[in-house]
């Protein structure tokens, strides 16, 4: 007797529904997403499922991605701007296995970009969707820990607490000392946490041509910003919002207008600054190499 070994399908994992989640869960998330788009910046509770990775690793983003992803999509996943970190690779591989979708590291080729804490430097287009992984969706959480109370504050659009918080920074330090997770007003109605992206990225959310979806798995909240929607970083007339970046050029591509990571190189205080967006940096390096060759 010969044993025929049937190799598993090259890409997808047997025994799972397309994109891992069952259809009832997807419908529930999809309904939440549609209401989220209709009420820009408003947090909508949803029944987050346990995912095969721990909270804090992007379970909210993964569930949103799983609910929107189709077989023709091309997925890019970044973790702090990088395509090659453990989290980004794991999530890309997860969707390759459970949905068989194509993945890419190039922002321009992606139809869905799932991100942890960065917005790609390359401007997103109308035919792209960006999914943010959100650890804490409630912008008022550190000021008012009671959910019932923050819900009421959102209903009343009473955001004085946050203004006082920013004012206290100015009074104590002379400037607003929030470098990431800098609160924004969406469509002049809802105060929203942009997820812990650097404040440098906040202006990219304003009137972005792409749809922006946010998923918080542990906190079980979904929210969204439709395309071309006004997103303003909170500030004061005499202390306008300023996006901050390290005042250096990228050590690899020389860029002076991208967000930089500081890399410690030795024990003697040596350090260098490189682009946080690895795809953008690699493209610039390739471009300048091509120019040099010509």
């Amino acid at each position: 007797m010969t044993i025929t070994v049937v190799p598993p399908a090259p890409s997808t994992l047997e025994g799972y529904n397309f994109a891992y989640l069952d259809e009832a869960t997807k419908r529930m998330i999809r309904r939440a997403l549609l209401k989220a788009v209709a009420i820009p910046g408003h947090q909508i509770p949803f029944g987050a499922r346990e995912m095969p990775l721990p909270y804090g690793w992007g379970t909210g983003g993964i569930q949103v991605t799983a609910s929107i992803l189709g077989p023709t999509d091309t997925l890019k996943v970044i973790d702090q701007g990088a395509d090659d970190t453990t989290n980004a690779i794991s999530i890309r591989r997860f969707f390759t296995r459970v949905a068989g979708v194509a993945t890419t590291e190039h922002t321009a080729e992606a139809t869905v970009v799932q991100t942890r804490h960065r917005i790609p430097e390359r401007t997103l287009r109308e035919d792209q969707i960006i999914v943010y992984q959100v650890p804490q969706p409630e912008p008022l959480f550190r000021l008012e820990p009671r959910r019932m109370e923050t819900k009421r504050l959102h209903a009343l659009a009473d955001y004085g607490l946050m203004h006082v918080r920013l004012y206290e920074d100015i009074a104590r330090l002379g400037h607003i000392a929030k470098a990431y997770d800098y609160p924004v007003m969406v469509n002049r109605r809802y105060l929203m946490s942009p997820s812990p992206i650097p404040a440098f990225d906040n202006p990219k959310m304003h009137r972005m041509p792409a749809l922006q979806l946010f998923g918080a798995g542990r906190e079980k909240r979904i929210y969204a910003i439709p395309p071309y929607t006004e997103v303003r970083s909170l500030d004061f007339e005499d202390h306008p919002f300023r996006p901050i970046r390290a005042p250096h050029a990228c050590a690899l591509c020389g860029s002076r207008d991208t967000y930089l990571d500081e890399v410690i190189t030795d024990d003697a205080g040596g350090r260098l600054f490189v682009c946080s967006d690895t795809d953008f940096c690699a493209e610039r390096q390739a471009d300048s190499a091509k120019e040099a060759a010509e």
Partner: protein, 190 residues
């Protein structure tokens, strides 16, 4: 149960495609999307109408409609949604004159998402003419012509919009085409 026709050929992928059409329509109000479905449907259900409900409605969503017994049997067999009065429904389907927006579930100030989605089956949809739409999702202005729009809809819409963040979201379906009006959109007559 004679004559009950099948739902989506591929429940997972067809639902995904239909949902993405609605998501795209909701994100860019006035832009027409296609569901691309080819279902055998009892009258008066249209392709897009059926696709939207198959993709989104289930036992968790109260449903009200005016589509008649055959459509009801088909939808309830495939989606299993409970029938409730229109004022309590998550999805309201109108194939004829829809109920007044103000009578539908609007949500509350704290939970504006607990509101109705009204699916209206209209005669036709066309871009670049008719209503002028502005608001989130629209770069400058989108135009949408709705053939067979409910009478007095634009005025009723403006009145209901004043309740934001409470409100009702509308999906307009014509054949296998659909467009959406989230509660944020402003409509001016063309």
């Amino acid at each position: 149960m004679t004559g009950l026709t099948p739902g989506f050929a591929d429940p997972a992928l067809d639902a995904q495609a239909s949902f993405r059409a609605v998501l795209e329509a909701m994100s860019r109000p006035g832009r027409i999307q296609r569901t691309g479905s080819s279902l055998h449907l009892p009258a008066p259900l249209g392709q897009a109408t059926a696709a939207v409900l198959l993709a989104l409605a289930d036992a968790d969503t109260g449903f009200a409609h005016d589509a008649g017994a055959a459509a009801e049997a088909w939808l309830r067999f495939h989606c299993g949604m409970p029938l409730v009065p229109a004022g309590e429904a998550t999805f309201v389907l109108a194939t004829g004159a829809p109920p007044a927006l103000a009578t539908l579930c609007q949500g509350s100030e704290e939970e504006p998402q607990a509101s109705a989605t009204l699916v209206i089956q209209v005669a036709g949809l066309a871009e670049d003419e008719g209503w002028h739409l502005t608001g989130p999702g629209i770069e400058t202005e989108h135009r949408l012509r709705v053939d067979g729009a409910p009478e007095g809809f634009v005025a009723a819409w403006a009145a209901n919009r004043a309740g934001f963040p409470c409100g009702v979201d509308v999906v307009l379906c014509a054949g296998d085409r659909l467009a959406a009006l989230p509660r944020t959109v402003m409509i001016a007559e063309g």
